[in-house]
């Protein structure tokens, strides 16, 4: 079954929140999953796999300790947190490449590299273990497969945008991946009580007249 990009984004956002990210980071996760689906990548599968791995851990252990030329965390680097920081600090790429050490699910960095590309009006490349993703913001060119964990990702500016993948208008997550995201998303919902049923939505005058 295909899903609208809006559905993908909303589900991914709630899932990230459910897995313990702040609302602002959850918004980033939603946009990231959406962007990956537009590029025909498995945005939901990647996010579901990542959240499954990070769930229950202290997220601050996976946050870059400093934003210099080489980013490391106490533990592995979270691609959402470091991706968002990469987008925030896009201008730093103008003074040289940035290396991210010990990244899990590095494919989740692609949408943030795209963000940096838009902000700089440049082409941005991610390289890890022989695989290479290049983006001008709207499009993605991909060579090789991004692993679920890598010792390092090198982010750099490029002069040329190679031939890009076709863009998509729908997402086609597997039922399993969607179920994983929905399970995390479910944690953001307050259990219904009779009180909330009546008060929360604002019962009032008759609605059948």
């Amino acid at each position: 079954m295909s899903y609208s990009l809006n559905e993908i984004e909303v589900t991914a956002k709630k899932a990230a929140r459910g897995a313990g990210y702040s609302w602002g980071m959850a918004e980033e996760a939603g946009k990231a999953a959406r962007w990956l689906c537009i590029q025909g990548q498995e945005g939901c599968a990647t996010l579901a796999g990542f959240l499954g791995q990070i769930d229950g851990q202290d997220l601050s252990d996976h946050t870059p300790l400093t934003l210099s030329v080489e980013w490391k965390a106490k533990s592995t680097l979270c691609p959402l947190t470091s991706g968002a920081a990469l987008s925030d600090c896009a201008a730093d790429l103008q003074s040289g490449e940035i290396t991210l050490k010990e990244v899990i699910y590095p494919a989740l960095l692609m949408p943030f590299a795209a963000r940096a590309a838009v902000r700089l009006g440049r082409v941005v490349a991610l390289e890890c273990e022989g695989a290479r993703a290049v983006t001008n913001g709207a499009e993605l060119s991909l060579d090789g497969v991004f692993p679920t964990r890598t010792t390092q990702v090198v982010v750099s500016l490029q002069a040329e945008m190679p031939a890009a993948l076709p863009r998509h208008t729908r997402g086609t997550p597997t039922p399993e991946d969607l179920a994983t995201l929905s399970k995390f998303a479910h944690r953001t919902y307050a259990p219904a009580t009779e009180e909330s049923r009546l008060l929360g939505a604002g019962a009032g005058l008759s609605d059948n007249d």
């Binding site: 079954m1 295909s2 899903y3 609208s4 990009l5 809006n6 559905e7 990210y21 702040s22 609302w23 602002g24 980071m25 918004e27 980033e28 946009k31 997220l59 946050t63 870059p64 934003l67 947190t81 968002a84 920081a85 987008s87 925030d88 600090c89 201008a91 963000r115 838009v118 902000r119 208008t169 729908r170 479910h186 953001t188 919902y189 307050a190 259990p191 219904a192 009580t193 009180e195 909330s196 049923r197 008060l199 929360g200 939505a201 604002g202 019962a203 009032g204 005058l205 609605d207 059948n208 007249d209």
Partner: protein, 562 residues
Amino acid sequence: MEAPAQTHIARRDPETVMRLSRLGSFHQCRLSFMRQLTRRLARENWSFSRPVFDIDENGVGRVVYTAQGPEHAYSLVAFAHDLPPEKRSDRVIADAWDATFALFDGVPTKEDVDRLSQNVPLQEAGRVSESELSLSRANRSVRLWKHVVDALASGQQPDLEQIYQVGYLMRTTAVYGSGKFGASDRENIADRPETQAPFQAEMLSVYLTRTFVRDLVQHMANIKGGAKTAELDSNIARWLGIGNSTGLGMAPFLVNHPVLLNNWIIAREEAIARVRSIEFASATEAQHFRDVFERSKLSVSWWTSEHPIQIEKLAKLREDLDKITAYLTQDDLTRDYPWNRMVEWSEDALSEEGQELVASQILEPYADLVDDLGIQMANKNMDVFYIDGSMSVDELRSTLKAQFGWALDKDWTVQEHCARAWYVSEEKLEPRLGERFEEPIEEYEQPLAPARDAARAYAALAGWDGDKRVAEFLLQHPEHRHTVRRVQIRPVAPYGEIQDNTISCDIMPIDMLRCKLSFFGATHFDPRSDRWVRICMYSGAPYPEELSIENADQWVYPELPA
């Protein structure tokens, strides 16, 4: 937004406009999405047809209406149901309705309609596809439906007074667009001329729904009355709008879409500023205003509510109408910046209901000055989602102070300032507003209190070296990321933030609903509690077959047949 050279009177200050009580007093205007739609349909000479009308004697079946424009066709696929009265509810927790609809992108085949017949009647529990642009449902107004069917079936016309008071035969209880439940994303149609302005697909769906309801009530009367049944008089049918019942689901929209909110408000404020900057109005323009004002009095006379707050607001509005009438006897509205003088007068003399009525109505004579702003109400500036992490902590601090100064001084631990919390219930996955200190909801709180969150971010910045970058602050404090984003959006969206406390003990969510619905073009706001409201849409509008350049715009101001 580019201001034309002649605008020397500034737009109203966001601090004035973006208060909840004022947003909750907004009225429709030339820029309303319904009026943008009907003007376009007439200007481009759209044609309308009803290729399928397959309804049985119990009122059950399917109907298709197609609207054909210059490049694209859109079809309302409607399913009529036989709903037991005990199942009829406007609330989002309902699971059956009198009628259900999808707006199909193009002309559906029989297979498309069959597919939709398996899904659309289920609404949220079904799936639609990229071929559908909206999903909606409607319930009858039981009293008026019965009256109209009975009257027509006995060869009589229905009583106009009853129609004026109720305003519609059916009310929609949700109109879902933009990728909901599998439907097409907004991006897929955002570049088409007819769907560039906001909510045009949804407004078209509702416009065609109104035609469906008229046709269905006639069909049911024909079955009941047989040969003696009267044909509904078109001069009466015109006063049948479509109702809408809107709950809390709509309120977070304004907070979650600051750029879109800004674009709506700034378009109207720019229009107001342009008109206020006119030094001389022609006699025709002045008369146009007077005519519209007189006609709007009739519309207000049909506006009733049982809600204490709206009853009071309506009483004030009626006093305001009298004051405006008196003002108009003393001013010929042609010289010395007539519209600006009137707006300035209204700020002292009238309630916010009256002030906003004046602000909307002075735009009426000036299609050439105002209507081009309509297209700018969409959000095309997706880039503002990005955070500029190179901003200094000092700059963030001063920006927070400039934007949320009023909120930083507030003690957010005091119960009355944070009595409420927005959350999403497990049950219907819809936003609700709860009592923070009485219900176990705080850990599920949605980020819909920008002012409180701004104060929290400001407090977290204490002790930070001012030269540090925001990116570093956010690494340590990801919980303030959504606030930093909002703060950075504000320079490009000065009207994007509600400048009020959205979690106070006395928050009225209906103010947020009314703001949004007024931009749709709704009238006759009738709150049913502090958090849901009924409105009327398209009352007075010509039906598709009657639509012309002459009647496509001013229908919102009723004119009684001579």
